[in-house]
Amino acid sequence: MPTSYDIAIIGAGAVGTAIARELSRYQLRVVLLEAKADVGMGTTKANTAIWHTGFDAQPGTLEARLLRRSYPLLEAYVAQAGIPTERLGGLLVAWTEEQFRTLPSLLQRAHANGVTDVRILSAEEVYRLEPRLNHGAWGGLYVPGESLICPFTLPIAYATEALLNGVTLKLRFPVQAVHQGPEGHLLIGPQGQTVRARYLVNAAGLYSDEIDRMLGHHDFTVTPRRGELIVFDKFARSLINHIILPVPTPITKGVLISPTVYGNVLLGPTAEDLDDKTNTATSEQGLQSLLEKGQAILPALLQEEVTATYAGLRAATEHKDYQIRLHAAQRYVCVGGIRSTGVSASLGIAAYVAELLAEAGLPLRPKAHFKTFRMPNIGEAGPRPYRQDDLIAQNPDYGRIVCHCEKVTLGEILDAIHSPIPARTLDALRRRTRATQGRCQGFNCQAQVVDILAQETGQDPRFLLALEDDDPPVPRTLTHPAADEAKEDQP
């Protein structure tokens, strides 16, 4: 017999985990289903890591509305949960007279979107803020609210709070079919496993159109839009003080240069429509075009070493707006087409989806207690364990550095492996601690990190190194023993 839930959410990216956390406030049995082995593995993990104000969104769209709604919610949340952020502000630079002439309309658009603290800068003011920019800037638009955020920590934080408040998380549970009956939805997963739920939320990102079709809708098609990015060495961090934005076009926000909360500098993204939802490879042309753009904007950047390159896929559709739809009769909400603003809009989307579900008849009775959780800090703006004498005195492992480039200690690695949503893969450990993400890319610590992970989790290193597939992949169900009102879930 399949376990029965009030509501199932498909997809544990920034949006799906935010919805799960939002719904965990209420007296509901919630299950969060994720096809991959960890949360935050799709568009959420490979983007520009910027917390957008939505100043440049199309006014009147749902995207603009939810970005605006999300901003203050996220402001409160990142403070409570310890999500690494840096409130640097964005500086949109006009490099041609034509671009300079569009600044007043961008200012108006920002005002229409409720972002009222933006202002137009002269070229002199631009260079006062960013003296190392290449010459030739006509002026700029200063957007104080644009900020850096850690897109790795955020979905883990949402999912952890959801778990603590009774949500069941099923990893490696790709939904293969959805059957509808009088009892609600029957979701077919791998190896004949099933989940029954009265209500369904589709937050499957790149695959949201495919899930939508399983429910009989043909409202949109997701076209993966690849964005390639280059991460420069931490020595480049002192070159800029703000997020350097280009003047946006209808297709893309364009190539930006931004610090990261880890103290690096990002250059990207490209924008290229593909038809393969798994093609997260970088390309020769993509990287070359980024270097040319970087050279044109901030020549000194290219003097530093590159630390990493990566590519992410945004869930673009043929529409210009989010595709969030309530199908009340089906007790189904589709949350598709979130493109490139999922991290920033996540809490606005979650609140909106809860309202839609209530509209469809889902009773939202708040729980007496809601548990919160504070995440370990992996950002450079906050205190890192290796610099905390009191922490090291309590546990010397916080003074025992394993990853020298990122100064990740053994204590942090062990914490991540034994956290409520444990790191069981190298990638999961990397996103929780930054270990092996630094300038040497594992020259020094990769072997030790594999060794620690294998020993602590009892996994064969051959699986960790993908030398052998542990096929067929077995879904993994996570619940938190301390969660209130959590019913035991036995698959």
Binding site: A281, T282, E284, C440, G442, Q446, A466, L467
Partner: protein, 416 residues
């Protein structure tokens, strides 16, 4: 937070740092402290489980780990303090370094500091090799740690990017791990396994394993979403692309000095070597701060690093006895295709000797004349049968006394 005073603080317990500490003790310096971020002192030779170490320094052959142990033992016997798992996290001032360790935070204040933090190999990402980011991508250093230090599985079939001395080291490590080597890949028109590697290469690569060395090719894509499934290479002349199936890629060579501490201290860096700029006495731009070993330029042998450590020790001892720091020195720049020159600046006292310099090239050049100029003035021209990348070449130094100490910067270039 603890504070400790010492006479000389050495950062890095590899061949350069340890040999320097030993020599300092022998020169009568009282307190010598060596810090290293690793749990074990000894530096890179600890990872090189093959023979070939020690002939210069100890007149017998050792494996890397045995060679490292010998230096550690000597240092400890002479009363050098070695602190492992101690990572420098910043400078308090020009004589004081802050560290973190399992025993907590602290500062070390020294009358002189030697930076000997070594090198790393440039990883795949920094070489901007496109493609997926699967498991199975190594550098020689990470590979050696997998195989010799941790006994972890590697793969079945590998390509080695690079065809120089260190690439041979990767070849033997893969062999030991039971991994077949599909090919060496090099962008250059010839391999660079010359003296003293040529006989080893001939016996193992050519004769016994019959491993192809693919020259004039560049790796243009790595395939495989989870595990490496193969690499695409481009032939530089024709642009022809070819797929080589493999599950492992090892990037070898392309050394980058581990210069984090040096740059945090604001030392003047040399654009060629990417290490701190030093004069012939291994003095950096910051009074009291010396540098030695492969931090200065990647990468020479352990013996060369150790010898440099001993030279630094003599100069540090002289500095502790009051020898003044030169107020002015002349940098030597290199022009492409030359990669670096060493030393990369000359203090006035360096102009009284005729010691040779060393340099490297980034590309093969046949029948090259290398010239030294001060401004427009030609000081020296020397002809080489050919310049080979990844090989250190010697440049005569008899021209040094002709340098005008108040004149313009020096330039080293290939003429014509």
């Amino acid at each position: 937070m603890t504070t400790q005073e010492t006479d000389v603080l050495v950062v890095g317990a590899g061949p350069a740092g340890l040999s320097s500490a030993i020599a300092l003790k022998r020169l009568g310096v009282d307190r010598v402290t060596v810090v290293d971020r690793e749990p074990e002192p000894g530096g890179m030779p600890r990872l090189c489980h093959h023979t070939g170490f020690g002939l210069w320094d100890f007149h017998r052959l050792y494996s890397g780990p045995a060679y490292a142990r010998r230096y550690v033992h000597q240092a400890l016997t002479l009363g050098v303090e070695i602190r492992t798992e101690t990572t420098i996290i910043g400078w308090e001032d020009g004589h004081t370094l802050a560290y973190t360790s399992p025993q907590g935070l602290g500062v070390l204040r020294a009358r002189a500091i030697l930076l000997a933090t070594g090198v790393r190999e440039r990883p795949r990402s920094a070489r901007l090799v496109p493609g997926f980011r699967p498991r199975g991508i190594f550098t020689t250093g990470s590979l050696q740690r997998f195989v010799d230090q941790r006994h972890l599985p590697v793969g079945r079939r590998a390509v080695i990017v690079g065809a120089e001395g260190v690439s041979l080291s990767a070849f033997f490590t893969l062999h030991k791990a039971g991994v077949e080597v599909a090919a060496f890949l090099t962008e250059h028109p010839h391999h660079q396994m010359g003296f003293p590697y040529a006989p080893v290469k001939w016996l193992w690569v050519d004769l016994l394993r019959r491993t192809p060395i693919r020259t004039g090719v560049r790796i243009s894509h790595i395939w495989g979403p989870k595990r490496v499934e193969g690499v695409e290479i481009v032939h530089q002349g024709s642009g022809r692309r070819e797929f080589i199936p493999c599950d492992t890629v090892v990037f070898t060579g392309e050394w980058i000095p581990e210069h984090e501490v040096a740059r945090q201290g604001g030392l003047v860096m040399d654009p060629g070597t990417r290490g701190p700029q030093v004069d012939g006495a291994l003095r950096t731009s910051l009074p009291g701060v010396f540098a030695a070993g492969n931090l200065l330029r990647g990468a020479e042998t352990a013996a060369t690093s150790a010898q440099e450590g001993r030279l630094a020790a003599q100069r540090m001892a002289a500095f502790l006895e009051g020898q003044p720091w030169p107020a002015h020195r002349l940098p030597i720049q290199v022009e492409a295709p030359l990669l670096w020159v060493f030393p990369n600046s000359l203090a006035p006292e360096d102009l009284t000797t005729t010691q040779p310099l060393t340099f490297r090239t980034a590309q093969f050049v046949a029948k090259a004349t290398v010239e030294v100029r001060q401004g427009k003035r030609l000081l020296h021209a020397q002809t080489y049968r050919r310049l080979v990348p990844n090989e250190t070449l010697r440049l005569q130094g008899h021209w040094r006394p002709q340098v005008d100490p108040q004149g313009e910067e020096l330039t080293l270039r290939v003429s014509g």
